[in-house]
């Protein structure tokens, strides 16, 4: 049986592209809406503890050869920490550098009855 989930708020409460902090289940969370997709991460950078909700959403500069055209890929899927610029994959919470070691917890969400619901174990 599916869990009820923790209610993070109405879908309309999250503007497309916004980065928002919410509190749920005793945790600070950062919510990013991209169209119909919602990403939720713990709102704390594993580096020095900054609130990721003060950060910006961007893309990933694709690897390229020296002097080649640097292309921004995955626009809207990367969250940049406001302090030292560490970049996290919104889908996985992993840092783009040393992602195995440096990651922030990500949470699954689902939409039901116009509400954003966080799935907690």
């Amino acid at each position: 049986m599916a869990s009820r989930g923790v209610d993070l708020g109405a879908v309309e409460a999250f503007a497309d592209g916004d980065v928002q902090r919410v509190e749920a289940g005793g945790r600070g969370l950062v919510v990013v809406r991209r169209g119909d997709v919602f990403y939720v991460l713990r709102d704390i950078c594993p580096h020095q503890g900054a609130r990721l909700s003060d950060g910006q959403v961007t893309g990933q500069v694709a690897e390229c050869s020296l002097g080649g055209e640097a292309v921004l890929a995955r626009d809207g899927e990367i969250l940049v920490c406001p302090w030292h610029g560490w970049q996290f994959d919104l889908c996985t919470g992993r840092s783009l550098v040393d992602g195995e070691k440096n990651r922030v917890r990500s949470y699954p969400v689902r939409i039901a009855a116009g509400r954003v619901l966080l799935e907690l174990d």
């Binding site: 580096h47 690897e63 390229c64 920490c81 030292h84 610029g85 560490w86 783009l96 550098v97």
Partner: protein
Amino acid sequence: MSQVEPAVETQEASTFSLIDCDVHNYPNSIEELMPYLSARWQAYVRQSGFSGPGGPTYPKGFAQAARRDAWPPSGLKPGGDPDFAREQLLDEWGIDLAILNPLYGMTALHNLDFANALMRAVNEWTADTWLGSDTRWRGSIVVNANDPKNAAAEIKRVSADRRFVQVLLLVRSSAPYGKRQFRPIFAAACEAGLPVGLHFGGSGNPITACGWPSYYIEDHTAMSQAFEAQLVSIVCEGVFCEFPELRLALIEGGFAWLPGLMWRLDKNYRGLHSEVPWLKKLPSEYILEHCCATTQPMEEPKNPQHLMQIIEMIGRDEFLLFATDYPHWDFDSPDRALPPVIAGDLRQKIVVDNAVAFYGF
């Protein structure tokens, strides 16, 4: 220079007991280079009274920056008498191979054509006067970094003589060597199968990042700033990405600053890597894969164990190469410079094995 490629005579590397990766040879005067200059440049030298590039901006504490006992009885200058250097360095210390780095400052000259003529002359003089005098000498190809295209041509020309084992650049350049204008030099070195040696000194820019200091003590101590700037530039500008086979020796710049630099660079890479999307791994990984550093001038902490900690922080026993810097005043003695805490396999690597592997002796 002989048109016939000279043979490289050497003993088996397994029998080596000491390799010196930084020794200096100097023409005693411009007259020694005259046979290697064209009639046009000979006339120019005679008419202009040119006696050599620059003078010491900072008097070096000792004349010619040399040990007082390195003045040969022949009346020649320190580093100017191959026979005396052989006796005082190679024979005295049982050195099996020694790399000559002529610090002839042709890059201080603004006339590129004259500087290039001197560049070629110094290389030919080194081959004839020094490499021919003892099979234990190895040479570095001097290049005019201000003219990368002609520097590359010189590397191609001289590298046929396999007694030359590296390309020599001076660390204080007119611009950081990672800039794309310098690529022909790195390309030519790689094509020739030679490492690039980045050595203390130069003329392009102030020694410190905040301008010219007043004293030689500042010059000598702060030169590591230039090494740091060059290494950061070379890594971040993707030189090692473009030339995966490139080897870079940091000569006479110290090494205790390296752990901090690598930590800073790796940390910044985590936040700023999108600026340099050609890098495929942490900057420190490029440094450790491609670079070595010579030991002289040894950093000498009060507690020698701290030196071991620095080496441990660098994280690669293959990183250091022993050097004396003969005939300079800050010569590191082969029997005293490495403290006893550097022992066993690590010591053997530093005094022989690492140079054998890096230079392919």
